[in-house]
Point group: C2
Chain length 245, copies 2
DNA sequence: TCCGGTGTGCGTACAGTGTTCGCAACGAGG
DNA sequence: CCTCGTTGCGAACACTGTACGCACACCGGA
């Protein structure tokens, strides 16, 4: 109100191109969007808040990005660049695939908004970084000698996506709760016990949950990821030793 | 305007409890929400539209449901009741698990909004139907004699979730495109070819895509699901034959 | 030196969202 | 008959994503 009281064009110091920030570019927008997503989650990202953070007006963003969905696709692909896949070198395929799977997971957990967005997006899959990720995975499996690399990719990638989705959802609720992971587990324990009470196998299984409150939950999640991944990789190795069909 | 021009309380036929619909209940709300979600997807569901469909005002819904997120959790759990798991009967575990996996997938594809919501939801997992699903899965794996049923569940469930998420995202884009599945594939082919051009392994792999335009895409998806599932199940069977550790 | 044209920033407005408040009408119990 | 707790809801609030159109900065040519 006090800063711009009159529309008098008798302006003294004109805008003079406030060169604090290096202007406004698609790259800068995407970068800052990712920062916001990481910090506060999907529902905290609004075009207006993002613009304010960039010292810009909301409408300005639309000069560089067609729509919020497109911005999301760009963010997804940008983040996909962080996933590391070892080069294809034949016999060491198991270690390499394990590394690729771990890298996907850590990226997904570093950006917990990623899995659900991936699950909605649709055509973000055509982004260059996601493309080159798939490409490198395919190269790895063909170099290893798999007769049907496509199915191999489906198996391990689906597993990794599913596991990461579940974990990311959990991490999101953790950070929304404002509590630590073990703290939330402890607070949740009564509810879980009550819910699992009528289910004999579950109450037995969720005895682990009690452990999780004492030991480090993150380490336990790591172990679970590795264990189930090993199952999938075992299944894969069968396809390699007996190249039937 | 013409229906309620004056606030005169000289009302003749009072509301008289319009008994077309059986009033308004949490169950009815959730049911109708699922109908809307199935028909038009997540972003088409708003409290106001939902209320209108139930011949009610928007605010009325909040008498039966605390928040939209809670409504979503209820919808997720309601839909989870459709997933079928065969009873645990020992040696036939492979067929039974396959059936459970297929049932999860068909449910997810019947309600394509489910996977992304599952990935955001957080504590929907404590709903009674999801609980009993997990319970029946656990029963199945323990009856089969797996030394570590938890990891077995992780492996197959993560795979199924990941695959269903990807497929559901694809089906969502298909239905948003207003085209048929093979029609959309055909229209998308140029873009895909361009995107995969610099990636040798991918352009080879996506040669299948050309097939998909001619043959039935749904059948092809079914086959892919089964093939990768078999890999996971092979890995599982190893854990059973050699009960190491 | 001026002069258009092009691209960028953005104030404003619109239609829609989830949710809250407070009031009206009802059915049941005393 | 009169209360009381419950249910429905009109209106309002604080937001959201996005379209429109104007103002201004820059730049190549005259």
């Amino acid at each position: 109100m006090t800063t711009k009281p009159s529309p008098i064009p008798s302006v003294w110091a004109r805008p003079q191109r406030e060169s604090d920030q290096p202007a406004l570019s698609r790259a800068a927008i995407v970068r800052e969007a990712i920062v916001m997503l990481d910090a506060e989650g999907v529902e905290a990202l609004s075009m207006r808040k993002l613009a304010t953070r960039l010292n810009a007006g909301a409408a300005s963003l639309y000069r560089h990005v067609a729509t919020k969905d497109e911005l999301m696709e760009l963010a997804v692909d940008e983040v996909a660049a962080e996933i590391h896949v070892p080069p294809a070198d034949g016999p060491e395929w198991r270690a390499a695939v394990t590394e690729a799977a771990r890298s996907f997971r850590t990226t997904a957990l570093r950006h917990p908004w990623l899995p659900p967005v991936l699950g909605q997006a649709g055509l973000a899959y055509l982004g260059p970084n996601l493309m080159s990720y798939s490409e490198r995975l395919a190269a790895l499996f063909t170099a290893a000698g798999f007769p049907d690399p496509g199915t191999a990719i489906d198996a391990v990638l689906s597993y990794v996506i599913g596991m990461s989705t579940t974990e990311a959802a959990w991490l999101t609720t953790v950070s929304r709760s404002g509590d630590s992971e073990s703290g939330l587990i402890a607070r949740l324990l009564p509810a879980v016990q009550q819910a699992t009470a009528p289910h004999s196998h579950l109450s037995q299984g969720y005895a682990e949950t009690e452990e999780a409150a004492t030991t480090d939950p993150a380490a336990l999640r790591d172990a679970k990821f590795e264990a189930a991944l090993d199952i999938v990789l075992d299944g894969l190795s069968l396809r390699l030793d007996t190249p039937g069909s």
